[in-house]
Amino acid sequence: MTVETKLSFNQEYIQAFSKERNEPGWMATLRSKALEMADSLEMPKPDKTKISNWNFTDFQHSYKEAAKIASLDELPEELKEYFDEDASMENLYIQRNQTAAYNSLAQKLQDKGVIFTDIFTAVREHSELVEKYYMNDAVAVDQNRLTALHAALMNGGVFVYVPKNVQVEEPLQAIFWQEDNSSALLNHVLVVAEEGSSLTYVENYISHNDTEENVANLVTEVFAHDNAQVAYGAVDNFAAGTTTYVNRRGVAKRDARIDWALGQMNDGNTVSENITYLMEDNSASEAKAVSVGRGKQTQNFTSSIRQFGKETDAYILQRGVMKGSASTIFNAIGKIEHGGTKSNSEQESRVLMLSEKSRGDANPILLIDEDDVTAGHAASVGRVDPLQMYYLMSRGLEREEAERLVIHGFLAPVVAQIPIESVRKQLTQVIERKVY
C-alpha cells in the first residue's frame, strides 16, 4: 500500500485555524507559505530505513478544546507518576491533547522574567521574541515535507525563555498527554536561554492509541546564547498506533552548552533526528539517547553534532535494546567543520539484541574537515554476554532477573542523565514494561 501523498489541508482551513487563535500576521504568513511548500518538498530520508509506506501526512487535524485541569488530583494515576507531586507542582505544564490544561511557574521565576507558557500564548504575548527564533536557524520550514507540514499545522507546544544571567535551578517540566486517540499532534517546543543563563527542561509524550492510527510531527528548537547552559531531558512514549517524526535541534553560541538525555520509548514507527550545532568557540554538547524496540516497530535514530567553533567538545552516546521483530537503525554523526580547530568529537553506539528476529544496526560516522582535532568512535551490536549471565545466576538470581540487571546496567549511562527523579523512575518502569 502506498500512502496518498496529496495533502488534505487547504489555505482556507489553515488561515481559519490561525485566526481562531488570534495569531499575529507573521505566524499566519509562515503557516500559509509552509503549506505551499509542503506539496513540493521531499520527505526526509533517514539513512537505511525505508519510510515511503509510513503514513505521516494523512491525519485528522481539527480538534475540540479539552477540559482544563483544575487540580492535579483529578489526573489519572498513571499520569501522576510522571512528576514529583510535592516538588514540581510549580514549574509544570500539562498539555491535554492540544489544549494547555495546566500551567504553573514559580513566582520568583516570573519575577525574574522567565517565561514558561504554551506556544499559542507565547506567539500572541511574546510575538517578536518567538518570531526571532521560530523555525529559522535551528529547524528550517523547508528542510523537508514534514517540517513544512509542521510549520503549516503546528497545534501545540511550549515556549521557555530564560533572560540574561538568570539561573533556573528547579527543572521545568512539560507533559504532553494525548488523551484523544484521533487527532494528530504537531507539537513545537522552543527553548531560549539568554547569555549566561541556565535551565533544565524535561518533557514527556504519552498516548494510548494501541490500535488507532495517528501521527505525531514534533519539532524542538533550543538556543543557548553565550555561556548559557541547557539540560534537555525527554521521554517519548507514544503508543503503537502513532507514527512519529521528531526533530530536536540545538544551537549553541560561544562557551554555551546543550546536553540532551532522550528516552525514546515509542511503540510505533519512529524517525528521530537530534542535531546540535556548536556554532561558536568553546561550545559543547552531549547527546545521549536510549531506546527499546519491540513488536514489529521500525525506528531510525540519528544523533548528530556539528562543530563550527574552535575548541568545541561533542559526545554522542546511544544505547538500544531490541526484542521481538523490531528493527532499529542508530546513526551517530560527528562532524567537525573547516575552522573548528582543537575540537573534540567522541561517539559511542551500542545495541543489545534480545531476540533472533530483531534487527539492530549502529552506524558510526565521523566527518572531519579540519586537521588539528581529536575524535573517536565505538559501535557494537551484540547479545547479552553468557558469561555475565552465568556470573549473576551463580549468585542465585533467576535468569530473567539477571537479564534485567544486565539490561538496566546497559541503559544506565543514559537513564541516569534524565534530570527529574520521577521521570527517571518512570522511564525505568517503561523500560521494564517494554523489555518484559
Binding site: Q388, Y390, S394, R395, G396, L397, E398, A402, L405, F410
Partner: protein, 262 residues
C-alpha cells in the same frame, strides 16, 4: 541437620569435545575445608566450573549431588539457591549495576517474596563486612567489578561469600595475583566463615594460601583425576618437594594438557 554434603562421583567433563576431567570423586561436608592442589592444566578449575554449571562445560559421565539432590539437573541459579557458591577466578564486570544493588538482589533471591532483607539490616551487615575485608566503602556504590583491580575483584568475591552465606563454597584460585597483605585479608574472611554449617573447597596452585587457611583434607589432582588425598601434611610435603614424587609413586607420565580457565 548440621551442614550440607556435596558429593562428586566419577565426574567426567569435556570442553569442546576434549575430555578434561576423567573421573573425579570428592565428598565435602559441612564443617570441612578441603584443598585441591595440583600442577597447572590438571582440571582443578574445570572441576569448580562444572560444579557451578558453567555453560561451556559438558558433563559426559558421573554425578554431582547436594544433600542427595541432583545438582546436574539444576540451573545455575538453582544451584546457588540450593546453597552452592563459587568464588570465580575471573569474575565478570557488570556495568551499570552497583555492587550493593547486586548484593541485595542476590540476598533476596534466596529469600521468599515478602521476606526481603530489611534495608537497614542489609546496610549494617555490608558495612561490617567491608570493614572486615579492608575494602573502601565506596566499592558498594561502584559498578560490580568494573574497573576493579585484580585484588579488588578477589576481595569482592569474598565479600559476596560473606554476604550470601552459602552452605558449600568453592574458591577457585582466590589467591592468584594477591600480595601478601591482601592474601591475609582474604584468608581472614574465609576463616571467619568456618562453622559446622559451612563446607569449603579451596582450589589453589600454591601452598602459601594454606599457611593462612588450614585445610582438613588435601587432594592432589593430575590429568583430570584426584590421584592422592591426605591431611594438611600433604600440602607441606608438596611445598617442600613439588609434584614429581607423586608422579613417580603413582607411575604417572607427563602429557600435554591445557588448563581451561573461564
Amino acid at each position: 541437620m548440621s551442614g550440607s554434603v556435596l558429593e562428586v562421583k566419577n565426574l567426567h567433563v569435556s570442553i569442546e569435545d576434549k575430555e578434561i576431567l576423567k573421573g573425579v570423586d570428592l565428598t565435602i561436608k559441612g564443617g570441612e575445608f578441603h584443598a585441591v592442589m595440583g600442577p597447572n592444566g590438571t582440571g582443578k578449575s574445570t572441576l569448580a566450573s562444572a560444579i557451578m554449571g558453567h555453560p561451556k562445560y559438558e558433563i559426559t559421565e558421573g554425578s554431582i549431588t547436594l544433600d542427595g539432590e541432583d545438582v546436574l539437573e539444576m540451573e545455575v541459579d538453582e544451584r546457588a539457591r540450593a546453597g552452592l557458591f563459587l568464588a570465580m577466578q575471573y569474575p565478570s564486570e557488570i556495568s551499570g549495576v552497583t555492587t550493593s544493588d547486586f548484593l541485595r538482589s542476590a540476598i533476596n533471591a534466596k529469600r521468599e517474596e515478602g521476606d526481603e532483607i530489611p534495608l537497614m539490616k542489609f546496610i549494617k551487615k555490608l558495612d561490617k563486612d567491608l570493614d572486615y575485608l579492608d575494602i573502601d566503602q565506596n566499592m558498594a556504590t561502584r559498578y560490580l567489578n568494573e574497573g576493579f583491580s585484580g585484588g579488588e575483584k578477589k576481595r569482592n568475591e569474598i565479600l559476596q561469600l560473606m554476604q550470601l552465606e552459602p552452605n558449600i563454597a568453592i574458591l577457585d584460585e582466590i589467591d592468584s595475583g594477591l600480595d601478601i597483605d591482601a592474601l591475609k585479608v582474604v584468608s581472614k574472611g574465609i576463616n571467619q566463615m568456618r562453622s559446622d554449617n559451612f563446607g569449603c573447597l579451596i582450589i589453589t596452585h600454591y601452598q602459601r594460601l594454606l599457611n593462612y587457611i588450614t585445610p582438613d583434607f588435601v587432594h592432589v589432582m593430575m590429568q583430570g583425576r584426584v590421584v592422592k588425598s591426605g591431611g594438611p601434611e600433604l600440602a607441606k610435603r608438596l611445598e617442600a618437594e613439588g609434584y614429581e614424587w607423586i608422579k613417580e609413586e603413582l607411575g604417572i607420565e607427563d602429557e600435554e594438557t591445557a588448563e581451561q580457565n573461564a
